[in-house]
Structure formats: structure tokens, C-alpha cells
Point group: C2
Chain length 498, copies 2
Amino acid sequence: MTSATTIPTETSPAELENVLATAQKAAGPLAALRPAERAELLRAAADALDAATEELVPQAMSESGLTQARLTGEVGRSSGQLRMFAAELEDGTYLEPIIDTATSSGRPDLRRMLIPLGPVLVFAASNFPFAFSVPGGDTASALAAGCPVVVKAHPGHPQLSQRVGDLLAEALRAAGAPEGTLSVVHGESAGADALRDSRITAAAFTGSESGGKALLEIANSRPEPIPFYGELGSLNPAFVTPSAWQARATEIIDGYVGSFTLGAGQFCTKPGLLFLPSGHGRQQHIIDAVERTAPATMLNERIHQAHAAERDRLAALPGMRPLARSCNNEDQVGATLLETTVPELLDNADAALTECFGPTSIVVTYEDTDQLQAAAAAFGGTLTATVHCEIGTESDADTEVVRPLLATLRARAGRVVFNGWPTGVAVTAAMHHGGPYPATTASVHTSVGTTALRRFLRPVCYQDTPAPLLPEPLADDNPLGLSRRINGEHTAAVVSTR
Amino acid sequence: MTSATTIPTETSPAELENVLATAQKAAGPLAALRPAERAELLRAAADALDAATEELVPQAMSESGLTQARLTGEVGRSSGQLRMFAAELEDGTYLEPIIDTATSSGRPDLRRMLIPLGPVLVFAASNFPFAFSVPGGDTASALAAGCPVVVKAHPGHPQLSQRVGDLLAEALRAAGAPEGTLSVVHGESAGADALRDSRITAAAFTGSESGGKALLEIANSRPEPIPFYGELGSLNPAFVTPSAWQARATEIIDGYVGSFTLGAGQFCTKPGLLFLPSGHGRQQHIIDAVERTAPATMLNERIHQAHAAERDRLAALPGMRPLARSCNNEDQVGATLLETTVPELLDNADAALTECFGPTSIVVTYEDTDQLQAAAAAFGGTLTATVHCEIGTESDADTEVVRPLLATLRARAGRVVFNGWPTGVAVTAAMHHGGPYPATTASVHTSVGTTALRRFLRPVCYQDTPAPLLPEPLADDNPLGLSRRINGEHTAAVVSTR
């Protein structure tokens, strides 16, 4: 535990004005850097974060209740993410340069690429004090895109937020970034005021559905509406076929209980429902697995209370029965499993299919494939959907069951997980962390993975532009050595017609 | 002129329900087609449109007042656009397949691609009865993406809309598209009801700022907000350097007058303001050029009246002086040029910098480079900005003037045009037709050009998915022969690790 320090106070209007003014001033110089130059800034930030691990993790523990191992891993994930975006900048295809040279029929020379939007406002989440907070994916992707970032700190870990912000800002400055590239502000009204400010050109948010929807409304009711990328809530259903259950029930039970209790169930990808064949016969094993889990400290008292209330509300729904529960312990909360059937669940779909943030989940039994399909079709947008099945070849019996199930799930989920669990989001190019509402407010984008930076880039087209004025990614001689699309062909060649 | 036919009535709630139900039913089968199969549907639609040119153009003339030449060109542009998207589907890179194979450290196999959102609602525009209406860019890009389309017809040309809708729907059906792939509905309340319906997954709109903002609000206040791609309004300023003026004032005057009066000024890319060096000395030439233009019929009486009111409001602003005017003629409207100075314009910026849809524009004189910069910085988002300058090499005097001007304009405009005019939007891969609000409600996307289809696609990630369940674009053996990103490398190779 660190020694007590003063909690950062709410950012005053005068301080906010200064933050926004410097962010706006930084936008031009930051955008003007070559991608490879900006990559160096990201690496400097990553190095500074890693170097401070031993100072930051105890601070994060004291403010979040999360474990040292988990938080240490999160620092590494966050610095790794900054380095991933650095590599993406060097790859350069994220700029999407497209060149159509002039034609004899009079079509002008047209050259398109992506450019940064301008200052981005990031609303940090409580449940990942690093990976979805000040040094997290939204910040990393916006900086990579070339946008100054103003982070509205989460009130759950204000000191950590301020310290990480200071540390990254200093590292960025030392590496040559313009003043104002990264700032942290505190307080709900500072966040809302910043969102309304014309200098903010986009915002990203991870949090509750109600909070996110309120901010979405602010973003859209501005005189000039801006893109708002909210990640709000997700049920993450998991489906087990009879064949999979027969083959590896024990492994599935242990994996499921581990996944829904991980980090006290405070993951946006926590599996909220597990669909098992009716008469699954492993009641006792499930109860034992849940009882073996240790109670855990939740992020803060508000979340602790909200979880208890939501858990009890779910438990009181018609057709919902208690299945297993582990002990609470003083301020720590145990895990809860409820049980119901598909028909009972569908009878109460509106009330039952809502996110319960914390270590609570529901086992739902199904009679047949039709019930499985009907249940899958009852879900709205979700970050993930999981299927446990036994498919090695096209001729396996499960293929016939899972193919229509997958079609239904794909229409609702951002990521479909097979024979694993949705918690744990690999930070890599192919990751998609998103989905239709309420998973996100912008389903065509992702908040994790290299393509996350596209949220903060917009196209611009240069028509018949004199060569000295063309930006490097669009110049005839291709000084950055990019793969570009020239007259329909994907090539790293120079432009030969001009 | 065609013989009188009955005007399609407002779509009833029962009819709308049927349209939405069949659109939703079509979504799965349409999405399941291979890209190359969908390309054939688009080509069939293009062929049907071309084949009906002689029937459709007179109908469009009678409903829009636009000329035969212009409308014939628009049919060709629209069918060409459908064929462009067909070629894009065959190219296949629009699917953005990214594959990260499993690692020894336990990272799962992750494969990402883009999939269609589902049924799309298109609000047609009045000013392009083909190219931004039923067979226009929004429809073409949504169909290409694999989304069924419901077009809310513009009331300015309801008969044409219904006829084109019937014709395309029949051509699509004959080519093997599922029933419900394309429908047309009529009436404001049908449009708003469709936008509120949960089966609609995204909407596109081209029209006024007030209309677009009202629809944006509906899209965002749904229980599940959806992407809303609105193209609303644009001022399209044009800037002329003293060198360019000296070199080719006559050409610039003629080009400008031609551009702002083209199609009776009813282009979203109409240049609304032209910045000339003070003491430009070509008053008479400008007056002559305007007086030579013929009066033109506007799209409809409402637009006719709105233009007259907005033109007269602008003319009455402090510091605004009449410069030139061509004659009205019965129901036809002449062109109007007003004149002011940069300081006067900036004194009335809020009142003066609003779109006047029709053949009216403003010549603004500037004293020096500072005034030019200040004027450029006063604009909000705009589809285009135009610069006339004399730059062949880096050492040309204009480079120093234009470089900072370009930086200011690029921050506001979707397309920067050099030594030309913004009207005329080439339909090609490198085109960007968009920009920050109010140009569009979604500045990271375009409504023209091949990348327009990305508006209707969202990513999905397949984790550790059994081979028989992987979609073709992500399969190991790469049956579609796509260029994919595999473990960071851009390659058309098969996946070797599994």
C-alpha cells in the first residue's frame, strides 16, 4: 500500500479550459509527425509505464481491491498494447492510401488517406485500472491515430489515474510530443463539459449502459455532433452441446466457474448465462466448483451494492432457482449461480436478460435444439458468444446443431468463442471487441486490437494537388514505402502516371 | 413527358410491416452469398437500369425539372457505380480478413472479417433523382455490403422512385437475390416508423441539416441506437491566390459561375463562397458571366421558395452587397452573386456561413494572407474546399501561402480540390464524399467511392473456430484467393499453422 496522498480534486472550469486549449494546440503538431515518429512516442510511454510498475501496482491495489498478479499483468498488457500500435504505425497500411490517377476522359487525380480527427475525450473504466483506464486501449489507439487525448479519470482510482497521466505526459514530452498530447481531468461535470466542448472531436467510453447512453445523448445533442464510441454492457452467453457435455463436462464446469468469477465477475466479457442440456446430471459438481471459489473484494462499494441488488432481483424472478453459492466474507462477495430453463427464461426475457456486473451467472437448461436456437435468438447485441461443441470434421454430428446456432450468434456477437471462455481479450490485430447495441454504441468499430485506431481517423481526398503539397503517404515516390491501392492495384510501387 | 400516372400513396403500417419482415428475412440469405455472387446481382441491377434509360429519364424530367442530358448522365453514373461495387466485391479486400494463429504462449487462434449489419434504411435525396436516390450510392453500397435495402422515396419524385424500385427489385430477383432485397416506401411517417423499427440496423440520409438532425435523434433514441449516416449541408468555400488570379482570372470566373449555377445550384458541393484578392478589378467580367447564365427550374416549389428566402436573407445582412444577378423567368430562377469583405463576413459569421441551396453564391474579398487564413478558420465541416494557386515546384511563391491554408482546410473538409471546382464527384476508389459535421453526421465514413460500403459492415472475430465452421474468407486454404493479413504479414497465402 502506498502512503496516503491527497485525492485529486474535481477539475475546475479554468483548469479544463487550459487542458482543452493545450490539447487543441497539440493536435496539429501531433498529426504532422510521421507515423514512425509517433511510434517512438508510444514506445516511450510504454517504457515509462513498465518502469513504474512497482510504484503503480500497489497504488492500483489500494484503489481497486484487485490482486497484485492481476494488476501486474494489466500493466504489461497496457504497455504491450502501446507497442502493438507503434508497430502498426510502422506498417502504415492503417493510413489506407488510395490513389486514382487522372484519366484521359477528364477524371481528376484523386488521392485519399486517413487523417486524425483531433482531440479525443476518453472516459476511463473502473474495472481495468490500467488496460481500460488512463494508459488503456482508447488512449493508445487515439494517440496512435495522431489525436491528443484528454482522459476523464474514473472516480474509482483517481490517484492512480493522475499519477499514470503525469508519468505518461512526461514521457511523451521527453520523447518530443507536443505539450497537451495527454491530460487527465477529474469529476463528472468536467467530463460532461469537455464532451460538450467544440474542441473535442470524438469520445470513447467504457462503462454502464445508463452512463453510456447519457453521454451518447450529450455527444449527439451538441451543435456539432461527434462520434461517440461507447462500450456499455454484455451478457456473453455460452452454449454447450450434448456431445461436448458428454466429452468434457468436468473441464467445462471448471472453466465456466473460473471465467464468471474471474476478477470478481467484473469483466465486460463475463459469461452471464450457460446453456446446458436438460438432465445434465452434474449438479453436485457445479455446486462444489462454486463453493471452492474464494470471496473477492469488488471494485468499490457502489459496485458491491449494485451487484447485490441485481443478483437478488434476478434470483427473485419467476422460474429462477438458486443453484450454488460461495460464502461472502466481511466486505468480500462470494459467487452465485442461479438456474432456470429456456421456456422460463424466455417468459421473463426482458427482466432476465440484463447484465449483472459481478460474480453471478445463470445456468439455463434446454430440452432440444429448437430451444437452444430460440434462446440464442432472444439475445440482443453482446461482446461475445461462446459455443462448446465437438467438431473436428464436417461430418461430426454437432456440425448440424452448431451451424444454425452460429448464424444466430454471429448476428448478435462481436466475437464467437469456441471451446474456451470469453474472459481474456487478446490484444492483437485480429481481435474484435465490440458488437451491436448494447455491447457498443458503434458496432462497426472495435475498442481492442489494431483496427481500434480507425475510430479516430477520417478520410480526406486530395484532388489534383500540386506535388509539393501532397502528404508523404500520397506522394508519387512513396517515401514511406507503403502498400497503396493505385488504380485498383495493391502495390508498394511509385506512382508512374502524372 | 410521360402520361399522368397515379402518385404512389403513403405506405400504410401494414405495408411497411410486410416490407420490413421480408427485408429481415432476406438478410441471412443475402449475407450468405459469396462476394462474387453478390457482384452478379449488382451487375444485373445495373443492366436493368441502363436498359430502362429511355423510359426513366422522361419520368425524372417531369418530376425534377432537371435536363435530359443531366439525367441521362446520372443513370450512367448510377449503373457505373453498381458495377464499381461489383468489382470491389470481386477484389475482396473490403472484407479485411485478419488472421492471428494460436501461439505457444496460449493465445487462441483469432480470425476477423467484416460482415453485413442487416437491413439498411436509405432516405433518398431530391437533387439527384438517380445517383442519390433509389439506385444511388447508399443503396449500391449497402447491397454490396450484403444488406437488404429499404428506400424511403423522396416526395419530389415518387413515381420515378417506385418505378426504379420495381425495376431493380425485379432484376435482383431474376438474378437470384432473395425476396425483400430491395423495397421502396413512401411518406414521412413510414420513414420515421421504419427508422424506429428494431429490424433496421443502420440508416443513410442525404438532405437538409434540420431533417438530418431530426432523424439522427430518432436513430439514437431507439432502445438500440443504430449507426446513422447523414450528409446534411456544406458551404464548399473556394480560395484564389493573387498569383492564380493574375494567371487566369477569366478561366476562374467562368469556372466558378459554371459551378455554382450547375443544376440550378442544387448540388451539395456547390461553391458557396469565392475568396478573391481585394481590388480584383474584374467586376464587369463577373457580372457578364452571371448575366449570361440561363434561368433554371428548381427541383420543386418548396425548394424554389426556400432558396429565394435564404438568398434574400443573405443579401440583407450587414456588409453584404449585390454583385451580379441573372434574370428570373416565370417559374425559373436566375443566379445571384453577392459581395462582401472578409472582415464584414467574419462580423456576421453565424448568419452568413449557412448553406443557401440554389444558384446563389458570395464573392468575398481579402486584403492579405492573414485575412485568408482567418476566413478559412471560420468554417465548420464542409464536404469540399477549393484552392486556386500557382504551384509547380516547392519554390513557387504560392507554396508559402497555400501550405498553412491547406492545413486549415484539411481540418474542415472531406475533399480539397486544387485548380478545379467541387461540383462533379468522381465515383472511384479514392473519392471521399464526407467531412466533419454539418457536412455529415459520421465524418469517419464516406457516402461515395468504394469505401462507402464499410458503413454497413461490422467486424466479427472467430476464436478457435473448428475448420468446418469458418467462413470462406477466413478458411486456411483461402478458397477466395484473398489478400489477408496473417500474423502481421499481408499475403494471399494459405494459413500454414493450425
